[in-house]
Amino acid sequence: MEHLNFENVIEFVSFDKLNDESIKKSAEVNAHLAECEACRKIVRAAQLLYDEMLSECRDREIAKEKLAETLGEQMGQF
């Protein structure tokens, strides 16, 4: 593997199930990451971004819930 491509990176940072396929693919990616600083930087960045996007989606829904059900008028700014 010369360098990870876009799909390799996305697949690696977003897999969320342990099965034969994800283990096999992640093992290949990790083998490359152990040797390639450039790809490690990209994976770290992509992982951070992916996690933040998930969190952003969660937080947006959470804020809506609090507005409607829990804090209501107590939180005047909402």
């Binding site: 996305i10 083998a31 152990a34 770290r44 992509a46 952003e56 969660r58 819930e65 609090k66």
Partner: protein
């Protein structure tokens, strides 16, 4: 804090760093050994955690997180191999603690409980200021996030794929649309635009996300690619649909990534209703 032996730690390095392809047996065994007692204790003392998942769920997520992050974020966080055994144990504990924290926050945000309670995991304590944790998180990471986004923009991939991914991600994040809605919006909004004008439009939309700023140098880099003979004057609608989305097969696509984000939102919405 529990520790693993030097031999166990060395075996993790052998399997993860020197074995091609990597193996995870020692890594997962070490995580189990380190976490079993404290994690089970956490479940018995934290009702909010026990209400939302099982011990096995958390351990499985720890495995996945370690598989993704051990090499890039611990063993090779810097250019040389990090062989600090006790540091690795702390890393595993931190990973597990973060997963538990997220589970508890998720539970707290989606559960109604009486205001008066003696439970130390009581929801009111966690939601007294629902924005506080988020603001701290954003302030702490805003520069890293900006760099992360730019790194993705600089990836070696066809420019229209990058632009499509960014457009869809920005749309979902800034306008609150679903993945399915964003597919239609992508077409109706950008179909007749050239890739160049589409990128300008996306940048304006991205300005709504405070943490998502694109630097002039990255912007110039992308514009240079867009100015190449192949890309100039190409309209978004001229790109074949199949170029963007791989509907079948094992490969995760750009669409897949966005879809996963959206599935989380849908799952939470269905839980709420």
């Amino acid at each position: 804090m529990n520790m693993i032996s030097q031999n166990e730690f060395d075996q993790i390095i052998v399997e993860l760093i020197y074995t091609k392809p990597a193996k995870y047996d020692a890594l997962c065994a070490a995580a189990t050994a380190l976490l079993e007692k404290p994690l089970r204790r956490k479940f018995t003392t934290t009702p909010a955690l026990a209400a939302t998942c099982t011990y096995e769920d958390v351990l499985s997520e720890v495995y996945i997180r370690l598989i993704k992050s051990a090499v890039p974020s611990f063993f090779y966080r810097n250019e040389t191999l990090n062989d600090d055994c006790s540091g690795f144990c702390k890393f595993v504990y931190t990973v597990a603690a973060n997963i538990c924290r997220d589970k508890i926050r998720y539970y707290a945000a989606h559960t109604s409980v009486p205001i008066e309670t003696d439970d130390e995991d009581a929801i009111p304590l966690q939601i007294s200021d629902p924005t506080a944790d988020k603001m701290f998180h954003e302030q702490e990471n805003i520069e890293i996030l900006r760099q992360a986004f730019e790194t993705v923009l600089l990836m070696d991939a066809q420019v229209y794929k990058i632009i499509t991914w960014v457009a869809q991600a920005v749309m979902i994040l800034s306008e609150g649309v679903s993945k399915i809605e964003s597919n239609d919006l992508l077409v109706s909004r950008y179909e007749k635009m050239t890739l160049d004008s589409m990128w300008a439009e996306i940048r304006r939309a991205a300005d709504k996300l405070s943490w998502l700023k694109v630097s002039e140098s990255v912007d110039a880099h992308l514009r240079k690619i867009l100015d190449s003979p192949f890309n100039s004057n190409v309209r978004y609608g001229d790109m074949r649909y199949a170029d963007f989305f791989m509907k079948k097969g094992a490969k995760a696509s750009i669409s897949d990534w966005v879809n996963r984000i959206n599935s989380v939102v849908r799952r939470e919405n269905s839980w709420n209703t």
